[in-house]
């Protein structure tokens, strides 16, 4: 399978628009075990999973800040030492369904484990001059001073 094709297929079914600028992350619920996984497995396994949308808000379970530029490949963002902008990554617990890993939008310095988070989208500039949009998390309104 071509790399581009798999990338675009995936990105289309990672989240659905929700209310108030939030999104709902799309996961797969195993039809027998009830186990929730993200993203939905593809190929032969896909039929074993029911498509579900996760709650649009949750709490921050853990996080870190990527202080040094990731290597390209696989990272497509700007990673030159002069222009690189550190970003946060974390796991957010969405209800009792699952914890999802994703980038965290906004000021990475103000994060705290347990803080309320919303599921949103974010865009970042890529090294080749275009932009990549992905699901992300952001501290819920009012949770940051």
């Amino acid at each position: 399978m071509a790399k581009q094709q798999s990338t675009s297929q995936r990105r289309d079914d990672l989240y659905s628009p929700g209310e108030g600028g939030k999104v709902r992350i799309v996961a797969g619920k195993h039809r027998q075990t009830g186990q929730v996984v993200f993203p939905i497995p593809q190929g032969a396994e896909e039929g074993d999973y029911k498509r579900i949308e996760l709650p649009p808000s949750g709490t921050l379970w853990t996080y870190t800040i990527q202080r040094i530029p990731p290597k390209n490949p696989p990272f497509v963002g700007i990673n030159s030492p002069e222009e690189y902008q550190p970003f946060a990554v974390g796991y957010v617990r969405l209800g009792d369904e699952a914890m999802i890993e994703g980038r965290i939008a906004g000021d990475p310095e103000r994060l705290e484990i347990g803080m309320p988070m919303d599921c949103v989208t974010m865009s970042f500039p890529t090294a080749n001059g275009s932009e990549m949009t992905t699901y992300a998390f952001a501290p819920a309104n009012g949770s940051q001073s």
Binding site: I65, I68, E97, I113, M132
Partner: protein
Amino acid sequence: MNDVYVIGAGIHPFGRHEGKTGLDLGVDATKLAVEDGGIEWEDVQAAFGGSSASGNADAVLPRMGLTGIQFINVANGCATGGSSILSAYWAIKAGEFDTALAVGFDKHPRGSFNPDPVRYGLPQWYGETGMMLTTQFFAMKIQRYMHDYGISAQSLAGVAAKAFENGSKTSHAWRRTPMDADAVLNSRMISDPLTQYMFCSPSEGGVALILASEKKARELGRTQVKLRAAALKTRPENSFEVFSPSLSVERGETPTMLAARAAFEKAGVGPEDIDVAQIQDTESGAEIMHMAENGFCRDGEQEQWIAEGRSAIGGQLPINTDGGCIACGEPIGASGLRQVYENVLQLRGQAENRQVEDPRLAYSQVYGAPGLSAVAILEKG
């Protein structure tokens, strides 16, 4: 079932070695191990070896001699070395061979690893958005652990300072200059809460071990070190592992807990019986969490252990006496074998000025992506 002995051990020092290939390091280590074992290359009946970045490990054969030996290349992430020794152990224990080689070597480019998402069954966007970094996983795992069990950043720094102290006494270590905890703490932040000197770096090195059956070891008069047990386990459900876009909300056991339990059961001993331990310290936090996952203390007790120097040489249970991955760096194929090499030296009383006082049981545990752990327990013969 046959008892298994480690009769020979060889190492090429870890670090950076301009002008030498990864294979050169593996060949050097193999020659030293064969010589140390008091045998000839022609006497080695089976071999298992791995290299992640330096080609097929069986490329040592033309250099050692094309004896027709059965050689199996092993690839098991950071646990490749642990997997090679496990394979050699099984082969001898099964009675199939009297002698076997476990060899590992590597030479990595500088900087963090940049694995391809597809090789881990992940979509490309996972890497494109900047999440395909093992360093993030380690940072996030210890960040949560610190929150849950009250571990301080000072303890993270203490683990690294101990590693550099031990590394300064180890001829095969890479980083041999002591560095105090404050300097570690104040070094560049890489991935919060982990700073530059809390992490190990990819490096270069080679290790080889010769294992033998009891019959062969007795014949050679080389029964100083017995391999009491070896076990490898992969991740169970609900374990928090590297490169996981999603996790279940319940946290369960880890592959290290399973491997430790299996090895202790096979050996018929418990964590309290261990006199010296080499455990996976990809970064300071990994050593702290692995102290509990291997059963040496309870979650949260590490804070006191480190403050009191209980895991330092001379303490209750010296951990990573050669400086571990933090001081030696991590050549993937060789790393787990280095731990066993260090334990062999400790049990033979050859660890020079880092020698632990009269150890009887020595433990090693290597952890690797995407979530497996291998344990070996050695006993003084």
